[in-house]
Subunit: 311 residues, 2 copies
């Protein structure tokens, strides 16, 4: 009995088949193409799913795991995902379950990332384990006492929505200050406010990726932006450290791949402000190990566990 | 078999005897009198303890619960408590255990507050349950899946040590912005910076209590200060809500007794900034029910549970 795993995001959709040992056997990717409309997108997910499923007789479908953005409150519906507007009216888990004829369990992408990194990645044996994914947005998940922590209504954790007061006088979410989107915005503000030379001035689009690349090449303005975002990330991590006293914080997502450019300022804020060094074991912050497969793996594990719990 | 419970704070020491049903039978209080030195303070704790214990033959001592401030990292030593300087060299739980001849289990005061309010107070049946005590400092505790959540090294939660950037350009801990100590400081800053009339100008000492009393009487400057602290409290609660998705947040401590003066601005910040109203059930924030006995009750429960787990 195998598990079908679906990683559904605003940009990319990934589908994989896991065998009875939860080993990934086949995987297919496709661009989500939201512009085609909700019905077409769902139809393509189901087609992709059928593509990776084994022929009848070789193996059978036990359960479906779905990984999706945004807090979902155990509804099987994608609520509040900025990357998937309009989807909060769609009972996605129910539709996929009925189309494929097996129970479907949907969970937040960062929560499943935490589960996967805890069981098979950088957080093995670490409890509590926090997982942060910093890319277009900022998501997070926690494993506490060996179990995924989801809070009262399944909406924990949303670390990207801690808010901080910026020197400009406004309060911004951590996501607006330290995600790829936030990095792009902070760079555009600096380019408009100052005359500092920068390779970014020659670009038509100044987004997080462009700023990261310019910083890696040594552009001074881009480095200032990444340092500022790293410091905001540090203030966010400081709250997480004082609230959860985690054994490990796994950092995933494209922005985390900037490495010390963004993490060194974050570590400095942590070290300067933590109330006791016991909160900061040397290997507290670790890079994610499971790469692009993290949500597929987490969704497969979650579906298996939910199926076993409900059968 | 009864439990001796000790609530040891920088200002007050309380000691109580709980019978086998964990019902409080006798309680004695004493001012801590830190100025007498550590040995004298410990001697007085032990004398108080012997005063509340039943006569030999009537009941016997099973275990000792000790409630103390600061993160303690399972050491039985009070680390980092601003209200008890110098105590981080003293193996307090060990000394009391040896003096009274029973195992002693020490835990952070706000963690034990969370446990007590979850089992017998305002958080019954609510999971996750957070408890915040806002008085001289700000402490916090959480019950998750029915168990006290203490993190990797026993140091969770420290919500008073989330940090926020103030308009003056510095980062301050929530404790420095919204505790009684913080309220006093913010008032002194305003009194020095502005010429606004205020009843506080006639006082020799402007502390949190004085500001609270002046605000309750309608003093405009005092109300502005309490409103500012309430808003900072709101930003702290916003992070807690987005990170833990709690069913309830129980508010204890003397500053919480200011009620809507401080909680209305906090609720406004929460309502204006939460990403989904599902995070804010109408009865999310509730006043603590157990009053001054909260830590004695929590320490007794904790000692019984630890004794059962280790026997």
């Amino acid at each position: 009995m195998g598990i079908l795993s679906i990683d559904f995001g605003g940009t990319q959709t990934r589908v994989a088949w896991f065998d009875s040992h939860l080993t990934m056997q086949v995987r297919k990717d496709s661009r989500t193409r939201r512009e085609d409309g909700i019905a077409a997108v769902i139809g393509r997910i189901i087609t992709l799913a059928r593509d990776v499923m084994p022929e009848p007789g070789k193996d059978s479908l036990q359960a479906i795991g779905i990984c999706a953005p945004g807090p979902q409150a155990y509804t099987g519906i994608i609520l509040n995902a900025s990357t998937l507007p309009g989807w909060d009216q769609i009972p996605l888990a129910k539709i996929i379950s009925e189309a494929l004829g097996a129970p479907a369990y949907m969970e937040n992408d960062a929560n499943l990332g935490a589960l996967a990194e805890y069981h098979r990645g950088a957080a093995q044996g670490a409890d509590p384990a926090l997982y942060l994914t910093v890319s277009t947005g900022i998501g997070g998940g926690a494993v506490i006492n060996g179990h995924l922590f989801t809070g009262w209504q399944g909406m924990a954790l949303e670390p990207g929505h801690m808010k901080f007061r910026h020197p400009d006088g406004q309060f911004y979410s951590l996501e607006a200050l330290a995600s790829g989107t936030g990095i792009g915005r902070l760079a555009r503000v600096r380019l408009a406010a100052y005359h500092t030379p920068s390779v970014l001035r020659a670009l038509a689009v100044v987004d997080g990726r462009a700023v990261g690349e310019a910083a890696a090449q040594g552009d001074a303005l881009a480095r200032e932006v990444i340092t500022e975002s790293g410091e905001w990330l540090g203030w966010g991590l400081l709250s997480l450290v004082h609230l959860f006293n985690p054994r490990v914080i796994v950092m995933g997502g494209s922005v985390s791949l900037l490495g010390d450019l963004i993490l060194a300022p974050a570590r400095r804020i942590l070290a300067e402000n933590v109330i006791d060094p016991l909160f900061l074991p040397a290997d507290l912050i670790r890079p994610a190990q499971l790469g692009d497969d993290v949500c597929l793996i987490g969704a497969a594990m979650h579906a298996r566990a939910q199926f076993e719990a409900h059968k």
